[in-house]
């Protein structure tokens, strides 16, 4: 039987734990992230002949190198390359939640969005064009209400479906920023081993931001001199 690896991520308080429990039936293996004091939860879900190994990542607002939680979440996605990443988004607080979504797209994660708390969003009088959102982001979006287990079967379907396809994220930034990303990306591609392991687009954005971890990596690879002209 086929086994796929699925990571759950989302801002704090979006109902991530509930979705984890709904998917795994509450049976979880609890341990620690290697070398860290942060809890790691892992469970299993079998759907239409596919076994999903589900990993609960820490709740985070962004993916900088600033806190342990964010570093754990991001290095898991970067290093382990899970087959599917489920980004749980609070439909009643879309703007803030999509900030993490955009960073996951930069990472070229194979995303499925669970648009959770749809009932609360509806109660507030929000109208969300789910199909439009999915098209603009280039990833499947499944409305869910984790508290009453609505949308769980659809979510599982979307995960299995996504695992068969590749990534085709669409989001692009301002023209001059995209140019920078491309120029940095071209320099990075001289180091094949590096870009085989990490998405060049993501590395380029992190270099632009001056991210501590990535800058160290670039220094180790001896690319810092070649980048000097671009990063100033």
């Amino acid at each position: 039987m086929k086994e796929i690896e699925v990571a759950l991520i989302g801002n704090p308080n979006v109902g991530k734990s509930l979705i984890f429990n709904n998917l795994t039936g509450g049976r979880a293996h609890v341990g620690n992230w290697p070398g860290k004091t942060v809890e790691k939860k892992e469970g299993r879900c079998i759907h239409k002949g596919v076994t999903m190994r589900i990993i609960d990542l820490p709740g985070v607002y962004s993916l900088t190198a600033a806190s342990i939680d964010e570093l754990i979440a991001r290095s898991y996605i970067v290093e382990e390359r899970p087959d599917v990443v489920v980004d749980i988004v609070d439909a009643s607080n879309l703007e803030r939640n999509l900030y993490l979504t955009l960073q996951l797209l930069e990472l070229e994660a194979n995303l499925v969005i669970a648009l959770n708390k749809s009932d609360i969003a509806e109660g507030l009088g929000y109208e969300i064009d789910v199909k439009g959102l999915s098209e603009l982001l280039g990833v499947p979006v499944v409305p869910t209400i984790a508290t009453v287990k609505v949308g769980m079967e659809e979510l599982k379907d979307a995960i299995v479906e996504a695992s068969k396809r590749g990534v085709k994220a669409k989001v692009r930034y301002r023209e001059d920023i995209e140019e920078l990303i491309e120029r940095i990306g071209d320099i990075l591609k001289r180091d094949e081993n590096l870009t085989k392991k990490y998405p060049a687009r993501w590395l380029a954005i992190k270099i632009i931001e001056g991210d501590g971890e990535v800058m160290r990596l670039i220094e180790e690879r001896g690319l810092i001199e070649e980048l000097r002209e671009v990063i100033g």
């Binding site: 607002y61 900030y99 969300i128 439009g132």
Partner: protein
Amino acid sequence: MSVREVLGEEPEVAMAEERYRVIGEILSKVFRGARPLTPSDLLDKAFLNRGLGIPIFLALWWALFRFTFDVSAPLSDLIDIIFSRLGEFASSLIGNEWWSAFVSDAICGGLGGVLVFIPPIFFLFLGLALLEDSGYLARAAFVVDKILRPFGLQGRSFIPLLLGFGCNIPGIMATRTIPSERDRILTICVNPLITCSARLPVYVLIAGAVLGAYAPMAVFTMYLLSIVLALLMALIFKALIPYFRRGRRAPFILELPDYARPTLRSALTHMYERGILFLKKAGTIIFLGIIVVWLLSSHPWGAPLDQSYIATLGRWLEPIFRPLGFDWRGAVALFFGFIAKEIVVGTFAVFFGLGEEAEIEEVQRSIVELGVFTPLTGFAFMAFTLLYIPCLATIGIIYRETNSVKWTLFTVIYGLILAYLIALLIVVIGGLMGLG
């Protein structure tokens, strides 16, 4: 085109703005609806207002301190009286002179000297817990972030510093919420400069004794000096120590929870958890410290104080403190103050043969009569007390939280040097101005 030309001086912030611009564009196409204004939003309009935010913050802070000191004062007095009576009662029951003095002066006096600090500390933590549970403390951190930034600190440094006014131990422990390691260590390093509640009795004692009508002003000056020096030292460390300059500042992202009515149960739990840390320290280190002071000052048994072991120690220390104008008594009080500031007042009381539970007025009278301090050296003594390491337990917690002998020693040593320099400065400048 380089990164700087495209995105300016802060590319990380510019990228964040760009992401939000893209999000805005997406939402304009697929999202309809306006968030209804909740009571929380309305409160935030006032509390986070550019003009009103800081005055409201200062008013609430002031209210918190009034609450702490006014409510706890009668309870502290009550504890003082109970232990003083208990001491008298115990000594009247015991025939043996040594044991009688030991039980009344050392044990009852020692316990009483420690327990009087429990009401203010617990009430401060209760007040903070109420502010925290109501959701305001997160806003306060937000409001002061702008003020703290230029000093190399940030909004999250604020709660640890605020807690430091109660006790530096929970203050230092609260730095765990600061995600950036550099900001966290810097906040830990300057936290001991925040004048904890244990230092207040020393100010009250000395100021009341030698500064007369200027006493309240002098005590207030200590609080001001505490804040100014904590910020100034943060600025200096940031400028001089390469470790604090390396890397970028972490952006300050803080989720503002909805305002809520605080529950008594949760506030009491918070108060208990933080207060108990102080109690543990008090129950062991301070209590033992006071007993040691009593033993050293009353032995050889029967000898007058100026021939006791403690006087010998004091004379040995005196040359170090002579430039500051402190005599052997001041030197010994500061020496034991290293264990805990709570011991300083008790040490003076023991010196004048008044017992630990002596009324503060009696101790003050003796300080004046024996000429221990002039107004100027008294003020310098207060500043010294403010600036050197608060207590042994604080050193322990700094080590535990930084996990570094280097940072622990650094904090202890710079505190001692700063204390000496500022006290010397006060004495020298005051002397030149003809005070003293």
